[in-house]
């Protein structure tokens, strides 16, 4: 280093000119002024000429104008401070709990950038087994419902929380001091902390506080029966996975029942012909979802049901040494005797269940289960289910008290009696006589609008903290996944506030859980660890196994007190739809557009009637694709409703059905005015009994998604066999489809079915093919899968995504349909478009009824082809039902791909049939050429509010928040279809790539497979030999739909196996 080394700050300093020295001395440098510039002498000598200036000016103006024409830029603004947990583009899952008084589910909430967008089941829950039904996975849309109240209201006018707190607090205090009656009317509460908050509230306001539980869909009879028999006011937890014989009297235990989705999990496990098949008897009047899955289904009138239960009891009692009951003669002796025999043979491994709301009937059902020793094995009363707690008499008493002016304050939470209570008018009249009325409803619903003074809107459950104890010893937590969108406050927090407790509800829960922690031996030492683990898992099982209470009830007396259902020429049975439930989510368009699994009708309820009776009464049976139904009037208990009549094969002749949950008037734009309110017809029970029905002469266009209901003798579409045959030959019902190929000997895999017109379809018995194989293809018959006109895609390398659908496990519940819709932003098109046959579901569940006519019968009776097919169009009077979920089959030789003129639909090297929306010009040739008719066209602009499809959530800013940002929203004029949830595949591949490993088969799930409670749908990599799906592909029951068309789908179906005797229809 030289000492002479010198640093300078610039050339000026280096040269050290006098100007520089001067400048250094002056502290403030003089600014350059405009005058200074203008005074410059050589301005005229500038190189910019006037013309050049004008050129530049012109250019600049032109450029600026062009720049202004650019498409608007929507800016994605990054987080200034990124929240620790959120990475844009990466979803977060939070464990939470759904409970709405009907359905309980432990769930995972998928959030993207802080928005909850999807609900999936939490597999950690032992009670639900990770099952969610359509109502639960659609509930996320309720968060973004524009009909929700945006803040507290007083007498219909907006107000603020301070006013509400002040006024309600004062009123309550006054009542409390005076010892006045304060009633908290709620749905069933399963939250221990909420119960405690209510108790605290009661403690503060004195003995006048009463908590009344009211369930719109009541299980009052069963609760009372269990109280009588076991001293426990709760329901049993059914273990269908261990039940060899199930006998159900009208109980829709897979859908409408408490814990239905969880029952489906167990039920599905017993629908595997390899490991075990239950025998399921169903005695019912309406064709229910559960009944449609039964092996043996007997249609009976509601008034005959009681006798059938007693008859079954007597038969079981006779075989097991119980005392007989009187009055048990039934027309259905033979089937009941068989059911009884099988139940007795499978002692301890049977379930008898009834939907009756009569304590007497339920007591007899309990007695049957008790005689069979099912308690403690298939029926768990030791750790019973708490999800129903309402006793009808309590509610009736409350209404009487209200009318009598005995109620000083009524706080209504989670229920909507002005809509769902049969005598809503009485309730409303009583409401007027209550001094202080507060509703915690999330919107100005029927009750809140019927004269309730204060509306203190509750948060949506995705904005709330809560806890739950659905089953004794089984706990779960609800955690918020988003800040409250509106100025709403949780019910519990309001209650705490009015109790004088200023702590927030989360703190309150935590404090309460300290008690759970202390009383649970397996909970670990530190409370914080325990609580955080429970929060992370969503559930906490205390592991405490209770003791099965002794069966003590005097069921003989109870049986004597059974309230008779009025027998009549036509009897009415109300039912709960798999989609809409009790109607609390009626404003959810996903559920409104979810077709009923049986009728395949959307956006309505209707009178279901047996086709035979419809013909007799002169109602149109909606044959041959007719959508125009006749309207009839039903009068029951002095109430008359008008609804269209819809044919329901399997409906008992002389009965009709009508679904509850419709006919809302204050639900919002999607729920109001849809169908009729059937709750008004109930008389404490959904089995209404004798009613009068008459035509009105009016017609009404039904929005049905499926307008043809039988298989037309095409048995290879939906293959079936019986368990007995399956046991003899696992390939029974699923013979290889053999094609006659003239050049079979030389060109296996490249035969020409059409060459020279020699193609011929034959149904081999499986053995023919084996022979052919042994003889080196000497036989001219080849299995359809080996006959090929095309050059194959390279499908052996890498992944090859496929799906297996077990028709034996599919119960038709529709959870996959809403799961798919929520994952893939499938638009809701509304009633009018469904009427035009334009639903957009990427996945549909085809429902087929069996017909009395078949090819064998036609041949035997000498019936000609035309008459045969005409007769085949009609379903049998008591048909067998089968479900078949159909989505894009991702054909390896896809007929859609060859016909698109612009190559908008192409094949991926992983076996996916891809759809490039941007490239699609909408010729619809692909949809026409699809043998499965799974492609859906955007007939209108369904999503951005430019056309009148307001029921589609994607038409307003709030509803749009539910859209999955990973899936593009499709514009008018383009085709769309199932993508096998390619966004999930890509995400999993990316994750695996980053981790430098192979994609694990299990980490890729399509939305439908994820949503399926029975695992009927399995998704995976067919090239991964260890995968579940690869095993399914080899199963003897597997087949491809329409194999003979030669499109080589990547979706497999598995034969339906009915557990019936060979000769039974």
């Amino acid at each position: 280093m030289s000492k002479t080394k010198k640093y300078w700050t610039g050339l000026d300093q280096l040269h050290n000119t006098p100007e520089f020295q001067e400048r250094v001395l002056s502290e403030f440098a003089p600014e350059a002024t405009a005058e200074h510039l203008l005074e410059s002498d050589n301005l005229n000598e500038g190189s910019t000429k006037r013309r050049d200036f004008l050129k530049f000016l012109g250019f600049s103006v032109g450029a600026a104008t062009l720049a202004a024409c650019e498409t608007p830029v929507n800016k994605a603004i990054p987080y200034l401070n990124k929240p620790e947990e959120i990475t844009p583009g990466v979803p977060n899952y939070y464990a939470s709990t759904f409970f709405d008084g009907t359905d309980y589910a432990s769930i995972l909430v998928k959030t993207r950038e802080g928005r909850p967008i999807k609900i999936v089941g939490n597999k950690k829950s032992k009670l639900t087994g990770g099952a969610v039904n359509a109502r639960v996975n659609s509930s996320v849309l309720g968060l973004y419902d524009s009909a929700r109240a945006t803040g507290p209201m007083k007498a219909g006018e907006a107000t603020d929380w301070a006013t509400v707190d002040k006024e309600v607090g004062a009123a309550l205090a006054k009542l409390g001091e005076a010892g006045g009656s304060i009633v908290i009317l709620t749905e069933t509460i399963i939250s221990p902390s909420t119960k405690k908050a209510i108790a605290d509230f009661a403690a503060k306001y004195g003995a006048g506080v009463k908590h009344v539980t009211y369930d719109a869909i009541s299980a009052s009879g069963a609760l009372e029966a269990n109280l009588l028999c076991f001293g426990v006011k709760a329901l049993p937890v059914y273990d269908f996975a261990s039940a060899d014989v199930v006998v159900s009297f009208g109980a829709d235990f897979l859908a409408g029942f408490p814990n239905g989705a969880a029952n489906a999990v167990g039920y599905g496990k017993m629908r595997d012909p390899k490991s075990g098949m239950s025998r399921h008897y169903q005695f019912e009047s309406n064709m229910s979802l559960t009944g449609s899955n039964a092996d043996v289904r007997v249609a009976l009138k509601p008034s005959e049901s009681t006798a059938a239960v007693i008859a079954l009891y007597n038969k079981v009692a006779a075989a097991t040494g119980g005392s007989a009951l009187g009055g048990g003669t039934s027309e259905y002796e033979a089937t009941l005797a068989k059911a009884a025999k099988e139940l007795v043979a499978a002692k301890g491994k049977g379930i008898v269940v009834s939907n009756s709301n009569d304590a007497g009937v339920q007591t007899v059902v309990n007695a049957i289960n008790n005689l069979l020793g099912n308690y403690g094995t298939t029926l768990n009363m030791a750790n019973p289910l708490y999800t129903k707690a309402g006793v009808d008499a309590d509610m009736d008493q409350l209404v009487a008290d209200m009318k009598g002016g005995k109620v000083g304050a009524l706080l209504i939470h989670g229920v909507n009696p002005s809509y769902s209570y049969a005598k809503a008018a009485d309730f409303n009249a009583g409401l007027a006589k209550v001094g202080l009325t507060v509703s915690f409803a999330d919107r100005l619903d029927e009750t809140a609008a019927a004269g309730v003074t204060y509306l203190a809107p509750d948060n949506h459950y995705l904005e709330s903290w809560n806890d739950a104890e659905p089953q004794a010893g089984s706990y779960s937590l609800t955690q918020p996944t988003i800040q409250p969108l509106f100025d709403t406050r949780q019910f519990q927090e309001s209650l705490l506030k009015w109790t004088g407790n200023d702590s927030d509800y989360f703190t309150y829960i935590k404090a309460n859980w300290a008690g759970i922690h202390a009383s649970s031996p397996g909970a670990g030492l530190l409370f914080n660890d325990f609580f955080n683990t429970a929060l992370f898992n969503g559930v906490f099982e205390s592991g405490t196994v209770g003791e099965t209470p002794a069966f003590v009830g005097d069921f003989a007396a109870a049986a004597g007190a059974i309230k008779k259902i009025a027998a009549g020429e036509i009897e009415l049975e109300l039912y709960v739809k798999a989609g809409l439930g009790d109607g609390s989510q009626a404003n959810n368009p996903w559920l409104q557009e979810l077709p009923d699994p049986i009728s395949r009708v959307t956006w309505d309820n209707y009178i279901t009637m047996s086709p035979k009776q419809m013909e007799e009464m002169g109602f149109s049976r909606l044959e041959r694709g007719d959508f125009m139904a006749n309207v009839a009037e039903i009068t029951a208990n002095g109430v008359t409703v008008k609804a269209p009549v819809y044919p329901s094969p399997g409906q008992k002749y002389g009965t009709i059905g009508l679904a509850v949950g419709y006919g809302r008037t204050a639900a919002g734009k999607c729920g109001d005015g849809i169908g009729v309110n059937a709750f008004t017809l109930a008389n404490g029970s959904f089995s209404v009994g004798s009613v009068s029905v008459s035509g009105t002469g009016e017609t009404y266009e039904i929005a049905q998604i499926q307008s043809h209901h039988t298989l037309m003798g095409r048995d290879s579409i939906l293959k079936e066999t019986t368990l007995a045959e399956y046991k003899q030959d696992p390939k029974s019902g699923n013979p290889d489809l053999l094609l006659y190929v003239s050049s079979a000997g030389s060109s296996a895999g490249h035969g020409d079915t059409h060459g020279g017109g020699h193609g011929e379809v034959g149904h081999g018995d499986g053995h023919g093919h084996e022979e052919a194989a042994h003889e080196g293809h000497a036989s001219p018959f080849l299995p359809a899968s080996e006959v090929n006109l095309w050059d194959d895609h390279a499908i052996g390398n890498g992944h090859r995504w496929g799906m297996a659908i077990d028709l034996n496990k599919c119960i038709g519940c529709g959870a996959c349909v809403t799961g798919c819709g929520s994952e893939n932003n499938v638009p809701v098109v509304g009633k009018e478009e469904v009427r035009r046959g334009r639903d957009m579901h990427w996945l549909r569940i085809d429902r087929y009824y069996s017909s009395d006519m078949n090819a064998e019968r036609a041949e035997a009776e000498g019936i000609g082809a035309i008459e045969k097919f005409t007769l085949m169009e009609a379903a049998a009077e008591t048909p067998q039902v089968a479900y078949q979920p159909v989505m894009c089959q991702h054909c390896n030789h896809a007929p859609c791909e060859t016909v698109c003129p612009v190559a908008a639909t192409t094949h991926s090297n992983e076996g996916l049939n891809m759809m490039t929306y941007n490239r699609c010009i909408g010729t619809r040739y692909c949809a026409n050429n699809c043998p499965y008719k799974v492609r859906r066209f955007n007939w209108f602009q369904y999503h951005n509010g430019s056309q009148d499809f307001s029921k589609n959530p994607a038409n307003d800013d709030l509803g749009r928040m539910v859209l999955n940002p990973d899936v593009v929203v499709r514009d008018r004029g383009v085709m769309e279809k199932c993508s096998f949830c390619v966004q999930g595949i890509q995400a999993a591949k990316l994750k695996a790539k980053k981790a430098g490993r192979k994609v694990d088969d299990a980490e890729v799930q399509s939305a439908c497979a994820e949503a399926c409670p029975t695992n009927a749908i399995v998704f995976g990599d067919l090239n991964d030999k260890a995968s579940w799906i690869a095993a399914k592909a080899k199963d003897e029951r597997s087949y491809h739909l329409l194999e003979e068309v030669g499109v080589q789908p990547n979706v497999l179906y598995m034969t339906k196996v009915r557990n019936v005797e060979v000769n039974e229809a």
Binding site: G625, L711, G837, P901, V902, T923, R924, D971
Partner: protein, 458 residues
């Protein structure tokens, strides 16, 4: 017949015309004023056309959802109309090209109008593949244009793409053929319109006749190009409807997937094309007094073609039925059973009655030569041919493989409006043509005036 010359064949032009009479007769509607009837029909046609254009604009503005289509039947009236119009557009080229090559001189009385009809029908037809697209503003993507969208290219496997080429080729060749034939006649009109008396006519027809001088070299080239174009157009007669039929034949849908389609469609196209020519000619010969040029013999000859092609179509229908049974494929069998006995049975039987049964009456010479009857039957045939396409498209789609997807199709008012609109477009064009173009080839008709020795003696 006192003359010693033999009557080899009946004269093609009746009424002892001189060459000048021919020019006068054919130029008359162009040079005269339109009568009241013309204005009435023209007004109706224009209203229908405007209504149709309105419906098309409504469709493009609002969406294909304005039509009656649904998730199962995604083509119906649109493609029915398309195939129907293309079929009608077949007679022109057949008459002008194939009959030229076969030296059928009687064609000269009808070829001009038949070709005009072809052009207008193809215009109507070409509308539908355009407007049936969900995103018509992207329609240029069906052309193999080099682009900046990456490696995007059209799909040469798609019959729809073949359609694009087939229809555009057919349209351009037909247009050029037609126009070249018009050039000498335009020159005649030009020369008849004195520059001083009718300056506009003179100027317009001067431009349109491309400076035709009528010298021997021009005539020679005219003859040569006509022959070349006839040679080019002849395969098109077969190719266009063959390719249109492949829209269906290459698919997998029962009722569409049929190898018989190409010949059957071509026969059907000629059938409907001749019927439409009959409809138009019968009116035109009356209205513009061309009965001596388009004689009853012409009508009879065309009726024979209608009878022949109708019979071919009938055989094709029955072959289809037989093949569906013989194939042993249950879907095929049902597709045809459903046509005859399903919910759209009336469409099938309308087709059978109109196309198979009705033309058989032309075995009777008396009916073949009956003008009123021929007119009614020509309309019946076109109704039948419309139903044929409807039956093929809608009844095949509405009940295909999976019964769960079976559904009915009903047209919306827009569907009907667009169809009526294309009729409006067609007749508007045709009526304008009849008033401004020589509806018979003046020069060519003069060449056949003297077909017998006795006529030369005059």
């Amino acid at each position: 017949m006192s003359s010693h010359e033999a009557w080899i064949r009946e004269p093609l032009v009746l009424g002892d015309k001189s060459y000048h009479d021919i020019s006068n007769d054919i130029a008359k509607p162009i040079e005269g004023k339109a009568n009241k009837q013309w204005w009435i029909v023209f007004t109706i046609s224009v209203i229908a056309m405007l209504w149709g254009l309105g419906c098309i604009m409504y469709t493009i503005g609002v969406g294909i959802g304005t039509w009656g289509l649904n998730k199962t039947v995604e083509w119906a009236w649109d493609i029915t109309n398309f195939v129907w119009w293309v079929g009608i557009g077949h007679a022109g080229t057949l008459i002008s090209a194939v009959l030229l090559l076969f030296r059928q001189k009687w064609r000269m009385a009808i070829n001009r109008s038949a070709e005009a009809m072809t052009i207008f029908a193809v215009v109507c037809a070409a509308l539908f593949p355009g407007i049936h697209m969900g995103r018509i503003w992207m329609a240029y993507w069906v052309l193999p244009l080099p682009n900046q969208l990456g490696s995007l290219w059209v799909n040469f496997n798609s019959p729809l793409l073949w359609d694009v080429f087939a229809i555009s080729t057919y349209f351009s060749v037909s247009l050029v053929f037609w126009y070249i034939g018009l050039i000498p006649d335009f020159a005649t009109i030009r020369d008849r319109a004195a520059r001083a008396a009718k300056p506009i006519s003179h100027a317009v027809y001067s431009i349109m006749s491309f400076g035709w001088s009528g010298n021997a070299r021009a005539w020679h080239r005219f003859e040569e190009i006509s022959l070349v174009l006839a040679g080019l157009a002849t395969p098109l007669v077969l190719s266009v409807h063959t390719i249109v039929s492949m829209d269906f034949a290459t698919s997998v849908i029962p009722g569409w997937h049929t190898t018989i389609f190409p010949p059957y469609f071509v026969a059907g196209a000629i059938f409907s094309g001749f019927a439409m020519v009959q409809t138009l000619m019968l009116v035109m010969r009356k209205v513009v007094n061309l009965e001596e040029y388009i004689t009853i013999n012409h009508i009879e000859l065309m009726n024979k073609v209608i009878m022949l092609t109708g019979s071919i179509v009938g055989v094709a229908y029955i072959t289809e039925l037989f093949m569906s049974w013989y194939s042993g494929v249950e879907y095929e069998q049902y597709a045809f059973l459903n046509r005859a006995s399903g919910p759209y049975w009336w469409a099938y039987w309308a087709m059978m009655t109109c196309n198979v049964i009705s033309p058989q009456v032309f075995w009777s010479k008396k009916l073949r030569r009956n003008i009123t009857f021929t007119f009614i039957l020509s309309i019946v045939v076109n109704i039948g041919m419309w139903f044929e396409r409807f039956v093929i498209i809608v009844t095949s789609l509405h009940r295909d493989y999976l019964p769960s997807s079976w559904i009915m199709f009903y047209p919306s008012w827009v569907d009907i409006g667009i169809f009526v609109g294309t009729l409006g477009i067609f007749f508007t064009f045709f009526l304008l043509y009849a008033r401004t173009f020589p509806v018979l080839p003046i020069a060519e008709v003069k060449s056949i005036l003297k077909s017998t020795g006795s006529q030369y003696k005059k």
